[in-house]
Amino acid sequence: MDPGSPVRRHYEDLANNLLSLEGIGSVVVTSPEPGVGCTSVCVGLGAALAGMGRRAAVVDCNLDDPQLHRMLGESNFVGLTSGPDGGKSLEHYGYEAVPGLLIVPTGPVPPGPASRLEGAGIEQAVRDLKKGRDLVVLDAPVAGRVLRSPTFSGGFDGVLLVVHASRTPKSLARETTDDLLDSGVNLLGVVLNGCS
């Protein structure tokens, strides 16, 4: 992230808030609906952590609509989906965008993508990625899918909900928050994206 960027300070605030929460090493970033800027929040957060001298990783887990590689202008030949079959850690399928920030795109999206991310494999892969890193940020599908996935709703340290200040209906955001909490998800808090 450009050191002179006007949003840098905001991402650093977000990073500091997350780091101040005890025992949070992996965070699932989701939203009530598509198009609220989850991926840019993930990248901005990862970049802010790296800029603060921390080590972080951003993993694109949104097999429904992979965006991370597009946003960064990179290919998506290998990534998260390559990990379970390749037998190597996720570090081998990602690349360092800036010093301290590992980017792992989705990799090729298989048929029936959701089922590919279920199970202990992905959880173990992220646990491995956490070693030596301050935070692993998982760019997840929308909250409805997160709720249906035991891996995303309970397999990591917490969930961060992104709402867009001018696009996300309040009723939908409230409903999503309630659903997440009712399901026992460790909702860490909310990011208000696109503020004026």
Partner: protein, 244 residues
């Protein structure tokens, strides 16, 4: 910085109903809407109160006692109704109208009168005579004339048998109607009640609109709406917002 809502306490709280703080915040945010509804309703009510012809109601009471004692409340009530059906005729109403100066305002007598039988647990029975009119004095005069004429006509029965087999009654005016006080505050009372209703209506509309809105006013708005801590706010800066 983590903002006002503490992470430890907020997750377990009851989330079904909006909190008072949330309601007040919404009302403050949409104060123009609420104020507008309050002003429109209060203004309408004030005009209605100012231009509507006032209605005053006065009440007299007539006691009725059968010559044969009736123990049962139902029997006493039936007795009162029986006397009423015999005594109250169109003729009586015309006479009340004549003596009350109907041209002064009581043109629709039947609609403006309310005659109700009553019985008491102590063995008493009678009729409440209520009249309404645009002037307090007129309403009281009508109620008193009706009561007086009613008593006179009961006396004319003179111990005769009614249809129910009961011997006719003694009647007396128990209390006379007094003119009700004129109230100059009536329009203001209307306006105050309407303002209260406007506050409720405007508040409900504000809450409804707030629920459907997709514009967030900031951190406080998000925290109150979602009842979750806002860990970060990101300004709308990125020239190419992603779709994820």
């Amino acid at each position: 910085m983590v903002t006002s809502t503490s992470r430890r306490g907020w997750q377990g709280g009851r989330r079904d109903d909006p909190s008072l703080a949330e309601v007040l915040y919404v009302l403050q945010g949409r104060r123009l809407l609420v104020l507008g509804v309050v002003l429109v309703l209060a203004g309408t009510a004030l005009l209605f109160g100012l231009f509507r012809e006032p209605v005053y109601t006065a009440e007299a009471a007539v006691s009725l006692a059968p010559q044969d004692e009736l123990d049962d409340e139902e029997a006493r009530e039936a007795f009162v109704q029986e006397v009423q059906s015999v005594v109250v005729t169109e003729d009586l109403l015309w006479e009340v109208m004549d003596q009350t100066d109907a041209k002064a305002g009581i043109r629709e007598f039947p609609e403006l009168s309310d005659i109700r039988p009553f019985v008491t647990s102590g063995g008493g029975a009678g009729m409440l005579v209520r009249f309404s009119g645009p002037e307090p004095e007129l309403a009281a005069r009508a109620a008193n004339v009706y009561a007086k004429l009613f008593v006179e006509r009961v006396e004319l029965l003179d111990g005769g048998q009614l249809d129910g087999g009961v011997t006719a009654a003694n009647a007396a005016v128990e209390h006379k109607a007094t003119p009700p006080e004129r109230s100059s505050l009536r329009p203001l009372i209307f306006a105050a009640v309407a303002a209260g209703a406007g506050l409720l209506l405007g508040g409900a509309a504000a809450l409804l609109l707030e629920g459907r809105a997709s514009g967030w006013r900031g951190v406080r708005d998000a925290e109150l709406t979602l009842r979750a801590p806002v860990l970060g706010t990101i300004p709308d800066y990125s020239p190419t917002e992603d779709a994820g």
